[in-house]
Symmetry: C2
Subunit: 431 residues, 2 copies
């Protein structure tokens, strides 16, 4: 019976069949050891010359790194083994033994080399742990929305030239229609959908033709956006801190072994629970000035500023009430000070930077027209978006969470490129 | 306390606040009725002149379709009402009353008109039911993979020119790199990932620059692909019939009210359980010839052929063992007849067409090289894909499920364009 490594503990004393690859192997005289991986874990297979056929023992000795094989044997309890079990082999059947050394076999390959071999690098333990954490983060996001009555609305990738910043868009020739663009956000569509369904979210790939080459940027990344009718700024902040806390808790409960394997300091993640600290943009500027940053009210924050702000807190921190002119046209002004808007950036601890951008949206038709003009945006292109303010407009709020940045923070990765299976950066679309 | 319509039954006798939009309203003399929708349901609000202020009663009479409003009132049990409750209003607070008639207010708008107003059309009951069914289908897909030990691997959208059919690709200028293409499939990447993680799946948008204008085609659609190391043709068929049966059951259990509202014949869906019938391509050709179709062995099936085959069965039917030359280069030949391959198309009942394309993949390096040559494909572009056959190659299989086609079938939709929130077709990318 074919059993996965992760399930071996349920089969102690039984004869099973394992299918996988050689992680490491060694032999000496009358005994061979194969560390077999199958994607769910690694188990040690013991092959004793005295208890198998000559063929099987010869097969076991021939194996090399990443040979594929089938092993038949008995599951034995073994307290000293990592998974608590080992396999006493009866039969070892090689499927394919590589003719060359496996390309990823040294501890000091350059990052360029590793990325060139991403299709094979995925088999390393570190990458398997990261991908399992990614899987848990994505599950956590979904479960949060499922439990909170949100409907998934998949927003389109092909769009006209509307969105946040028309600058960094990828263009496509669309049949006889002319140019279309790859969406940088589904927000405007989610705004339409939340007027139909109340609470909606998306989760999918996003594209930014930005010539940034930092450890926090990808050209193709995943984003989760949510939008809720009748939510105002305060509701929006609570939703975000609940979501982020839920994700972290979910990963701690479901992927702790992978965090441990990456030597992530779990105690830092265990502190992540609502409420999150909040400071206004204006307070943040004062704080940065006091720390010696050359920054003026009205400037946007870069990575260094975000890191300095985050350092003051053990949890993610909301920076709220940015200057209207530094943010997108659709943000609702603060009724107490129309120079700032009801928005927030959520900055992760430990220097991982902004993981959420959020705001209450303008719901007044005339104010929105005024802002489109102030930002020199083509009013015609926003025809349907303006309709939402003509037919039963209501206050509403939402946000976008960067999935890879969230993964990088939770897993404790130095660079975001490891947080996605096949990263696309400025100079890389292969493999 | 703000309560959603779907939760009203838990608040019978209590005073609540509802936030939403006017679905329909009418008044006569001393009484007004407002059907309020909030995205989770519709409830009747009764406003009696004798029990509210003059302002509130005047407000209630002023309301028109899609006005946004807040209602405060008491929840009363009312067996004759659709949700079993109605609201006796204390206060009616209009938020925004449209100056124009709501654009979607007649039963006979043309499909072009409705699609031009998709951002508002989403508020119609029919579209809300469909989007709830879509949400349930997507949840069902995920839960299946979660329960069966699969890891989500998000495959890239930006890719080099490799994939199934280089014909229908959208092109992008990628910085100094040159042309890149929007992926039509993540299969090749999933093949790499399944060698690392065993069982993997994706679920995301896919793009096909195909000038098809049928009720089964979208330019941008969602696809779910899965790939499993060590799975052969037979395992692959079982995985597919289990997945599809799971999705249907999940929707029946979690979205039955929405199926009923669309008048879907539930009894047809209740029959969907494993095993699914199977016929070979060769048998299907004979069947079609007997029915008078002008088709020869070697031809591919179109929509009409698929519908005729599907008519013979009450469940989805697997058509297996297609001619090698009619399918993609990477399919494993049948050991008993190398002119056909170990593949299947799963054809939905009731004329909904192909919802899955699947195959066992070639795992032998030399055979794969031979096929690349036979199909005139550039071997260089497949360098990393070929690596998978050099380092621990194993038999493996997978498939791709068309999400919108699956939704169209389950919801009983005539056209696939209603199965996605913002459809992109040959002539439409707006709104
Ligand atoms: Mg920022
Ligand atoms: Mg077909």
């Amino acid at each position: 019976m074919w059993v996965y490594v992760k399930d071996l503990k349920k089969h102690i004393g039984q004869e099973v069949e394992l299918k996988g690859w050689v992680w490491r192997s060694r032999s000496s005289g009358k005994i061979a050891f194969i560390n077999l991986r199958d994607g769910t874990g690694i188990v040690q297979v013991v092959v004793e010359a005295s208890s198998v056929s000559t063929d099987t023992f010869q097969n076991a000795k021939k194996l090399r790194m990443e040979s594929s094989l089938i092993v038949k044997g008995t599951v034995k309890e073994e307290a000293r083994a990592p998974g608590g079990v080992e396999i006493h082999a009866k039969e070892v059947i090689p499927l394919q033994i590589p003719k060359e050394d496996f390309p990823i076999n040294k501890p000091d390959h350059s990052i360029e080399y590793l990325m060139d071999h991403r299709h094979l690098w995925l088999r390393s333990r570190r990458q398997m742990h990261i991908l399992n954490i990614r899987d848990a983060v994505l599950k956590g996001i979904r479960k949060f929305y499922w439990e909170n009555g949100f409907i998934q609305i998949d927003t389109p990738i092909f769009t006209g030239a509307i969105g946040e910043s028309a600058g960094n868009l990828f263009e496509i020739d669309y049949f006889d229609y002319g140019k279309v663009y790859l969406a940088q956000t589904g927000q405007l569509y989610l705004e339409a959908a939340c007027m139909a369904l109340g609470k909606v979210y998306n989760l999918g790939p996003t594209f930014r033709a930005e010539k940034s080459k930092t450890r926090r940027h990808l050209i193709e990344f995943w984003m989760n956006e949510a939008e809720v009718a009748f939510y105002e700024h305060e509701d929006n902040l609570k939703l975000q801190e609940n979501l982020v806390s839920y994700i972290v808790k979910f990963v701690l409960e479901n992927a702790a072994e992978h965090l441990h394997a990456l030597k992530r300091d779990i105690s830092k993640l265990e502190k992540i629970e609502p409420p999150f600290p909040r400071i206004t943009y204006t307070e943040a500027v004062k704080l940065l000035q006091k720390k010696g940053f050359n920054i003026q009210w009205g400037d946007d924050f870069g990575g260094d500023e975000e890191t300095e702000i985050a350092k003051q807190f053990e949890k993610p921190v909301f920076v709220t009430h940015y200057p209207r002119k530094a943010k997108a046209f659709y943000m609702q002004p603060d009724p107490e000070n129309p120079d700032v808007v009801l928005c927030d950036d959520l900055i992760a601890p430990e220097g991982y930077g902004e993981i959420i951008g959020a705001s209450q949206r303008i719901h007044d038709y005339n104010l929105l027209i005024e802002r489109l003009k102030e930002f020199n945006l083509p009013i015609d292109a926003y025809d349907w978006y303006l309709d939402l303010r003509k037919f039963g407009s209501v206050p509403h709020s939402g946000f976008g969470l960067g999935v890879e940045r969230t993964i990088a923070w939770i897993a404790g990765l130095e660079h975001i490129r490891e947080a996605i299976p096949f990263p696309r950066t400025l100079y890389r679309i292969h493999p």
